[in-house]
């Protein structure tokens, strides 16, 4: 790759513009009692890019994502978001900053319909008070219509029109994953965190999901950070990859760089201890 990836912004081979750094993680260390989950890791996420975090089981990937989303507070290190140091925040404050995420184990409201689930992703955009909501007048009505329209766009985008009114509990796994993505997308995030979006899917579902991730990034310019085990998917999708092992960063760079990194190869294929 000839592009200067250290420049303030550059254009990728397929014509997307990658902007300046949005999230900068500096020397993060996270401990649970005596267990060190993340050890002194630094990396950044740039505007408009697809950033993958990979690593073997127990490497600390999900912990890392929880640090990014503000759910865990690291004992050491700083999280810089859009040029300012981020204090410890409540989840709703994080959401207001434009972060949204999906979960490794689907966390949807099983008894609610797909549409209602996606509407919960718009909660931050609603200002009507309880009374207005109850009588559905004034602000509440207007807001609901606006938010429903936004949700419908997401539904159309992710091609889940046929299950709009189906309770989530009745859906197969692959579709639930898509609904969760829809909910995250409904919040119109500027940074979207995906925790194993393709775990447990068949090849066709993976292809669909990959297409959605690329389209999301392309159409809405959403910055995406994802954890994934499927190497083929990661290498095809992402612009840059962070590799973790036992809580440490062992590689960081473009897919090609990471693929040829000896530490990464050792971590994945194992190394003889002689």
């Amino acid at each position: 790759m000839t592009t200067d990836m250290n420049a303030d912004s550059y254009v990728t081979e397929d014509g997307r513009t990658i902007g300046p750094v949005v999230m900068d993680l500096k020397n993060i260390t996270l401990r649970f009692g005596g267990v060190v989950a993340i050890k002194d890791i630094s990396f950044n996420i740039r505007e408009g890019e697809i950033r993958a975090i990979i690593g073997p089981n127990g490497a600390g990937k999900s912990s890392m994502l929880n640090v990014i989303s503000g759910f865990y507070k690291p004992q050491e290190g700083e999280v810089w978001f859009r040029g300012s140091k981020r204090p410890q925040m409540k989840p709703y404050q994080v959401a207001q900053q434009g972060l949204a995420r999906t979960f490794q184990n689907i966390a949807l409201f099983e008894g609610m319909t797909v549409l209602d689930n996606i509407m919960t992703g718009r909660l931050n955009k609603m200002n009507a008070n309880l009374f207005q909501q109850a009588i559905w007048k004034g602000k509440a009505e207007k807001e609901e219509l606006e938010n429903r329209e936004a949700c419908e766009k997401v539904i159309d985008f992710l091609e889940i029109q046929h299950i709009r009114k189906t309770p989530v509990g009745r859906l197969p796994y692959g579709l639930k994953k898509r609904v969760e993505l829809a909910r995250a997308l409904a919040a119109e995030p500027s940074l979207l965190l995906l925790d194993e979006p393709m775990a447990g899917m068949n090849v066709e579902e993976k292809e669909d999901m990959s297409r959605f991730i690329l389209d999301m990034n392309d159409e809405f310019g959403t910055t995406i950070a994802l954890i994934e085990h499927d190497m083929g998917v990661v290498m095809d999708l992402s612009d840059r990859v962070v590799v973790m092992d036992y809580g440490k960063k062992i590689g960081d760079g473009t897919p090609d760089e990471v693929r040829n990194n000896q530490d990464v190869i050792d971590a994945y294929l194992g190394v003889s201890h002689d």
Binding site: E152, I155, F157, D218
Partner: protein, 721 residues
Amino acid sequence: MAQELAPAGAFASIPALLARNVKEYGDRPAYREKEFGIWQSWTWAEAAEEIQNLAMGLLALGINRGDHVAIIGRNRPAHYWAMVAAQKVGAVPVPLYQDAVVDEMEYVLEHCGARFVVCGDQEQVDKVIEVQDKIHHIEHVLYYDKRGLRKYDHSHLHWYVDIQEEGRVAHARLEDEMAAREAELTYDSTCVMLYTSGTTGRPKGVVLSNRNIIESAKNSSEFDNLGVNEDILAYLPMAWVGDFIFSLGQAMWTGFCVNCPESADTLMSDLREIGPTYYFAPPRVFETQLTNVMIRMEDSGDLKYAIFHHFMDFAKGGAGEKHGMPKRKVTTQKKTLEQKIRHGFNYAMGIGFAAETIIENGIRLAFAKLRHGKNVRKHFKAKDPIGLNLYGGALKEYFKYRCGDVLVYGPLKDTLGFGRIRVGYTAGEAIGPEIFAFYRSMGINLKQLYGQTEATVFITVQPDGEVRNDTVGVPAPGVEVRIEDNGEIFYRSPGTFVEYYNNPESTADTKDPEGWVATGDAGFFDKKNGHLRIIDRAKDVGKMADGRMFAPKYVENKLKFYPDILEAVVFGNDRDMCTAFINIDLTAVGNWAERNNVAYASYQELAGHPEVLSTIQEHVETVNKSVAEDEMLSGCQIHRFLILHKELDADDGEMTRTRKVRRKIVEEKYAPLIDALYGGKSEQYIETEVTYEDGRKGSINATLEIRDAVVVGNTQGMAAE
């Protein structure tokens, strides 16, 4: 020649009809499409403006008279508009099958020489771009759904809406040119070019003129009293002539509303939301829906199950035909007071009857359960209320049907999306009598028609009140039908196609100078009611030794309508009588065996079970009876049959992958059995090689019993003629 006979007056083209619709029905809905969860609608005036803008945009791009505009995409208003816009500027729309693979698309695009292509979305654009490597006459590609196309090279790729915008801007400059081109359209100019599906060889481009389309639309609309209030759901492939006639021809002629579903997956719920009044579907769709209903009924509670079956049996017994059919009259005006009272009274009576039935049967079921415990469902039958039977005779039947309407037919029709249906058509292949009876008895006016692309759909249609499942009706208005000596059907009509594009030989083969077109199907007119009956493809119809007509497919289809029979092969070409191989359906017969405590270890054992043989014999004899009713085909009655010890299988080469029997191979492979059938033996030993799914081979052997079936009428086949 060009201007002779334009009975539709000034409306010599689709754009002319559009202009009329704008004038007469300007603010009525013309198109609806579900987008973002809401039915978006366009009135005739709005649709006409969209079309106008697109047509201007196409002009600005430099479209010429006679250019072909290929349209590839699912049913969306924008795609229908593209067709009309093309017509407005003197070009010819060519809708293509959107699910065609690149190779097929390449052939058709090359054959029609399209300069413009209108695509639905990225998928179609990708295919066209791939094709462009090999064929170079495609100049401009339009797409409607922007998704994923932002990064494509846009030098020859345009967003549909951008082109419309350009057309709007260029309005003043191009208006004269447009008016001139529109005025040039005559009754004989080409309206559309449709490609045949190409089941036999390469697809052929059928050129249809404005006369073909408008006359056919006019005749068929009048035949079924279609009015401006109809709603249809456009979901069949746009490349198919049926969709062109229903969603464009008839819609333009009558001014009714065309509804487009949100996506293929939401079709069923969209159907329910719209509740079309005029509907078309191939038999497969009706079959799937019926199966779904039956499966769900199996899982329902005892009372519901009993009531459902009770009323369905009642309706199928003839009451449905008598009381269920929607009235022909279109009720657009407000109801009079008297009608309201009558309707209210009927409805109240129906509800009363329903309440009685439910209560009585609930009590009866409770007692039945108390006494018999489990398994009661199989034997419990809902009955009419006995205590309060106030209505006698014919009235009772009427009220009982109304009651069924409240309890079963109405809700079921609503669930299926057929609540408002006035006219429904099925065509394409034979529909099973069970399926047909099910829908008709519910009060859905389902009819059959027979047609083809070359005839602009309509050859024969079933008029209201003369519907039968084994015929395809009488010649449609304006259509002449003639049967050759060999049974082949010929027709001549205002809908007869102009020519196959760039293929004068095929045109000459199919259409003679007087305008008669060969259908390639064999059939005959029923002497009793003058309805046409289709037997088979003409080339598959043979002669028996005594010269009588031998139509194996016709008999096989009749046999296959029984759920017990999976496959049947009838022999008799050049022989003096017909015989048959039967394959039982393991699921259906296995189910029967389970219920009747018949133990079996294998397919072979079940197939040889004497009771199974007797059941099949009954089926064969029933079929014989119905075959004997047709004078022409009475020779095809099955005299002897046997049940094969294995299923005919594609792995063994006995069938094609699409599950069509390879008659030749079966005949060779089972020669000893055929000899035994004609040799008068009562059983025959056979050893057959089979191929397992993993490719290994083995052999199975069996001694098969051969049964004689009773035939009706002249038992010696030689006696005829």
